[in-house]
């Protein structure tokens, strides 16, 4: 079992949990967090390298580095792991954000408990991305959700109890749909198929046509709630606003990606026929998300709310592109997941740092921070530019791939909706520049703010890590494009061709 490298994505967090349980002071907690998250980062690098080696050697299996260990025989539940380009990209994203998040919560209260929950959350996240068994996927999904309740409820700010409750309940509601969908998929294979939980197997044998029309909406909505699909997005503004910095980062950066990833991996990958026919319903919903989130962000005054609505808009774009069912748009969706993950983590990190100094997140009460904390302000400007799609940063690449891909759709309805989605780039510019202008430029609003200090070294490390990643994706997109696009061009393309 331990000869498979992927399993270490779960083993390392578990070891971290053990290590954290033994720590006695904040120094030890930090040491464990830093060592563990660095190890995860290194591990994802190694996995990437091995993955590329295998692909270069001509291995064209849909999933590489697979392994499967029986867990519960009667229901065919296995701990089955395996990765393709998309999962590798998601693993890298998660480890980067966990790394940056550890540094962003350097001075948190009750660090031991905080990191315990945070690491448990990341265990769920990593487990989800390496799983190719529906049941273990679902299980890790739940593992990732539950710690969120405590992390927000205990370490949050503002209406934290309300937000924590709302977030958990809504996501749990989503996972109820999901469980229904997963069981449905398990019990309704296509003619002559076997009962199995293994994704690849199910994709090969197919799901019963008639049931797909019921199960596809179930799973799509189930994951869509986590992907902040309109109208199931309202947990996101409150949740993000109340969550502590690292949790916002991890939540918006990685956990929301679980939604997009799941929508693709479970809903569309397993049930392409239903997806093809029902896509238009969800296309309308996600199209609304894109524009609606952007418009809502324009009038918010709380930094985190602005960013949360912006996340609604950007994540809407992810689901939107996935539903286009062509390889370019779907590649774009994954790129957008990467890009948005890094970018929004950067945003939340910076907002947390600014909030930690000014003790307010209301943009009306701040101004001229560029003079006071130039490092954080420049970081914020870069994050903003990435968000509004400046070439050379990741947002542009992702959005353009989505737009170009979506516009290749043969149907006029889809193209028209693509244009609607395109409008979001203007609205994004409006709200980003509004914040940047009010928050960073202009005169200093509050004289007390003049005494504030700029970023400390750990904050700088966290911010610089994320900025570098955003810039690397933005400057050398083709590498990532090939990495995440490959599954769409080979395994998935054949499925799409079949239904068309």
């Amino acid at each position: 079992m331990f000869s498979n490298i992927l399993i270490y994505f779960v083993v390392i967090p578990v070891l971290m949990l053990a290590g954290l349980a033994l720590t006695r002071n904040i120094k030890q907690v930090r040491a464990v967090a830093v060592v563990g998250s660095t190890a995860l980062l290194a591990l994802s690098g190694v996995v990437l390298y091995q993955f590329l080696q295998l692909r270069a050697a001509g291995n064209t299996d849909p999933m590489l580095m697979t392994g499967s260990w029986s867990w519960f025989e009667p229901l065919n539940i296995n701990l089955a792991v395996g990765v393709d380009g998309i999962s590798v990209a998601m693993l890298i994203l998660s480890s980067i954000i966990v790394f940056a998040g550890s540094f962003a919560s350097w001075t948190i209260d009750q660090p031991k408990e905080f990191f315990l929950w945070l690491v448990l959350l990341s265990t769920g996240v990593f487990g989800f991305f390496i799983s190719i068994d529906l049941f273990t996927m679902f299980m890790f999904y739940e593992v990732a959700l539950i710690p969120m309740y405590l992390l927000i409820g205990v370490w949050g700010s503002g209406k934290k109890e309300y937000s924590a409750m709302k977030l958990t309940l809504m996501l749990m509601g989503g996972s109820a749909f999901l469980l229904l969908g997963i069981l449905g998929i398990y019990y309704h294979p296509a003619e002559g198929g076997q009962y199995t939980m293994n994704l690849v197997e199910i994709a090969r044998q197919g799901v019963d046509r008639g049931w797909q029309y019921f199960l596809f909406p179930m799973t799509f909505v189930g994951f869509g709630v986590l992907g902040a699909m309109f109208p199931f997005h309202t947990w996101s503004p409150d949740g993000h606003a109340s969550a502590p910095t690292a949790v916002s980062m991890l939540h918006a950066g990685v956990l929301m990606k679980l939604g997009g990833y799941g929508c693709f991996r479970v809903a569309i990958y397993l049930m392409p026929e239903a997806a093809n026919e029902l896509a238009w319903i969800f296309l309308i919903l996600t199209g609304i998300s894109v524009v609606y989130g952007a418009f809502s962000a324009c009038v918010q005054t709380d930094l985190k709310y602005i960013n949360a609505y912006s996340s609604v808009s950007h994540c809407g774009l992810v689901l939107f592109a996935i539903l286009m069912l062509n390889s370019t748009a779907m590649t774009g969706a994954i790129m957008q997941m990467l890009s948005h993950g890094l970018m929004t983590a950067l945003f939340f990190a910076l907002i947390g740092m600014i909030y930690g100094r000014t003790h307010t997140r209301d943009i009306r009460e701040m101004g001229g921070l560029m003079k006071i904390m130039p490092f954080l302000a420049v970081g914020y400007v870069i994050a903003g530019l990435a968000s509004l799609g400046l070439p050379g940063l990741s947002g542009f690449v992702a959005e353009m791939t989505i737009f170009v891909g979506s516009f290749q759709h043969a149907d006029l309805f889809h193209r028209a909706f693509t244009i609607v989605a395109c409008c979001s780039i203007v609205i994004t510019a409006v709200y980003i520049l509004r914040v940047v202008g009010k928050l960073l430029f202009g005169g200093v609003q509050n004289e007390h703010h003049r005494e504030l200090t700029d970023a400390t070294w750990w904050e700088r490390l966290s911010v610089v890590t994320l900025i570098v990643c955003v810039a690397v994706i933005g400057c050398f997109p083709n590498f990532f494009n090939d990495l995440v696009g490959q599954p769409f061009q080979t395994t998935f393309a054949s499925i799409i061709d079949v239904i068309k």
């Binding site: 503004p237 418009f295 050379g392 203007v426 520049l433 430029f441």
Partner: protein
């Protein structure tokens, strides 16, 4: 030097400068940062000249064929992002007449501005940042003009937009600068939306982004659309008009011009570089680049002509009433760029072998020089009197002789007085318009006359009129050498540039074309210009009440023009009252109260229901027993009755 190496360096040097100055600038002294930036730009300038010279004069078979046709040549073309097999974004270096010409224009003006800023920006906070941004801008602009495909152009298009945003907002503590930069970015972003959609439509049908493929076989582009139409116009027209919309935004065509006057909040050298000479002509360049495709759609060309002509006139009228000298120059820029646009719009191959295209590019070149000159001159004046308004000036010719002479040369050039460069280019454009339809010719001649009038109005108000009383306490002084050298250089170029045989180098089909003046047009325009200058002289040379009387006579017209015909108010109304109040706020309200309210309602219904029935769960085992017992007895009774 090897062409490939130098063309790489042309792009990489400014980028490297940006990174170096941007990342380590905080630790550098002002002087070091400035000198480093200027040196880097100087090297780029030399390289660009070398590349342009190689392209135009080497006669290599790569660049010109036996018949004298200039070829399009891409020096390098790296794949950057592959969407599909055919839709690929490449980053390349494309050499053809217009890009080579633009290389020269951009590097020249940029170098002059770098040099000039050493003096102008001396001692400003954020001097290093300023140079970093200038390098970023130069990099993006160079990348834009050498783009091998429309998406590369879009990428750099966005980058110049951002560098423009950063530079306009350079004085970020000034609220007006912040809002101006925001406005500039958002307005151009809106236009870029059109550009993007245009690209999407075009690429949907043609399956390519590549300029070579698009422009070498425009008929194939037309054919690929399969005659598809949308709302009465062919999709190609739609695509081209939308792409032109991008150009309208960047080039400040009406009604997307409103950002440019406000952009004058940036430092003056920036206005000279970005908002006069280079970035704002990107729209013209875009149309020129896609010109063979535009020829496929006469409606799209018509749109360009009409927008251009309307903007030219509008901007010229507004320029006559502005008080801020940079605003006057800004509107003059809008008007001149509209001139170029119109010239492109009327340039049909059937008329003088598409002379309008050549003329437009020629004017782009000369205008870049003399408008940069005028802006830098204005900068020197503002530097001296610390005000933007000409009411604070007057009689400066004695105090600032070099500025005075060079500014005058600029004015003469833009007014179209021979033998200054503006005359030649403007004359070619007017000829082209006249030959397309006399209406355009006369209309634009009138605009040219207005141009001469407002430029000389400006000139006289600054340098003649009456000496300002403030001079006694604060005596204006001539600018330092770093600032006057660029002025002198640009003035020299403005004088001689007209004699460049431009038709040799830049034509729409890249075949050489012999320029010959059409004297009937030339005489008309010269006479118009001279008359306009005479009127301006009469009005403004000495202080008198003639202008005031005229103003009072046409008070409503003057006010309307002074307020720029209320475009800003209109936009404020649309954005603030309609989009913000009527769209954004209701949506936010809807989200908080309806969507979120629904979720909260679910929660509160659950809560109420549970508190309503929680009495049943009293915790008293005895009541449970009663209920349980009675329930099971009932079941037992039913069973008994049924079984027996």
């Amino acid at each position: 030097m090897d062409l490939s190496l130098s063309s790489h360096l042309i792009l990489l040097l400014p980028l490297a400068m940006f990174l170096i100055l941007g990342l380590t600038g905080m630790k550098m002294s002002h002087r070091l940062a400035g000198v480093l930036g200027t040196l880097g730009m100087g090297v780029t300038l030399l390289l660009a000249y070398a590349v342009a010279a190689t392209y135009f004069f080497s006669g290599s078979s790569d660049f010109v064929d036996a018949a004298g046709l200039r070829l399009q040549y891409s020096v390098f073309d790296y794949t950057w992002l592959e969407f599909t097999d055919s839709l690929v974004i490449k980053l390349g270096f494309f050499l053809d007449p217009i890009s080579a010409m633009m290389l020269v224009v951009i590097t020249t003006v940029s170098f002059m501005v770098h040099l000039y800023s050493l003096g102008y920006m001396k001692g400003e906070v954020g001097f290093q940042r300023y140079y970093a941004f200038l390098s970023l801008f130069t990099f993006s602009m160079l990348g834009l003009v050498v783009a091998t495909n429309i998406f590369q152009m879009y990428i750099f298009w966005e980058l110049v937009g951002v560098s423009s945003y950063l530079l306009i907002g350079f004085f970020y503590t000034k609220p007006s600068a912040v809002s101006a930069s925001k406005k500039a970015f958002i307005v151009t972003r809106f236009a870029d939306l059109g550009f993007l959609v245009g690209i999407l439509i075009l690429s949907f049908y043609t399956r390519t982004f590549d300029f070579l493929t698009l422009t070498n076989s425009p008929e194939a582009v037309m054919a690929s659309t399969g005659g598809a139409t949308f709302m009465g116009a062919s999709v190609l027209t739609w695509a081209l008009v939308l792409i032109f919309m991008g150009g309208m935004g960047k080039s400040a065509m009406m009604p997307l011009h409103i950002w440019l006057p406000d952009a004058m909040e940036g430092p003056t050298p920036v206005s000279a570089l970005i908002h006069a000479a280079t970035m704002v002509v990107a729209g013209v360049f875009l149309v020129a680049r896609m010109f063979p495709v535009y020829l496929q759609s006469s409606s799209a060309l018509m749109v360009i002509t009409v927008v251009g002509a309307a903007t030219a006139f509008y901007a010229a009228v507004v320029a006559c009433t502005q008080i801020d000298i940079k605003r006057v120059l800004a509107f003059s820029t809008i008007s001149q760029i509209a001139f170029m646009m119109t010239a492109l719009g009327v340039a049909l191959p059937t008329i003088h072998e598409g002379m309008g295209y050549m003329a437009s590019m020629f004017h782009l070149f000369t205008h870049a020089m003399f408008k940069a000159l005028l802006f830098l001159g204005a900068g020197a004046i503002i530097h001296a009197v610390h005000s933007n308004n000409y009411t604070e000036m007057g009689g400066l010719r004695k105090y600032m002789p070099i500025t005075h002479i060079t500014f005058l040369i600029g004015c003469l050039a833009i007014a179209g007085i021979p033998p200054f460069s503006g005359f030649f280019s403007k004359d070619e454009m007017l000829t082209a318009m006249m030959n397309n339809h006399p209406f355009w010719g006369y209309w634009m001649t009138m605009v040219a006359g207005l141009t001469a009038f407002y430029m000389f109005r400006l000139y006289y108000r600054i340098f003649w009129w009456e000496e300002n009383k403030h001079y006694a306490e604060h005596r204006p002084h001539e600018a330092p050498l770093t600032m006057t050298i660029p002025l002198i250089f640009l003035a020299l170029v403005s004088v001689v540039a007209g004699f460049i045989p431009f038709g040799e180098y830049v034509t729409w089909n890249r075949e050489p074309y012999e320029i010959h003046l059409d004297w009937s047009v030339a005489v008309t325009s010269i006479v118009t210009a001279v008359v306009a200058i005479t009127i301006a002289t009469a009005f403004y040379r000495k202080k008198n009440d003639l202008p005031d009387r005229l103003t009072r006579r046409f008070q409503w017209l003057w006010t309307a023009a002074n307020r720029r015909f209320y475009f800003d108010e209109l936009y404020m109304f649309i954005t603030h009252s309609i989009i913000f109040r009527r769209v954004c706020q209701p949506i936010a309200w809807f989200d908080r109260h309806i969507i979120d309210g629904t979720m909260n309602m679910f929660a509160s219904v659950t809560n109420r229901a549970s508190s309503a029935i929680k009495g049943l769960q009293s915790g008293s085992v005895q009541s449970y027993v009663v209920v349980y017992l009675l329930g099971s007895l009932a079941i037992a009774a039913v069973v008994c009755v049924c079984l027996i």
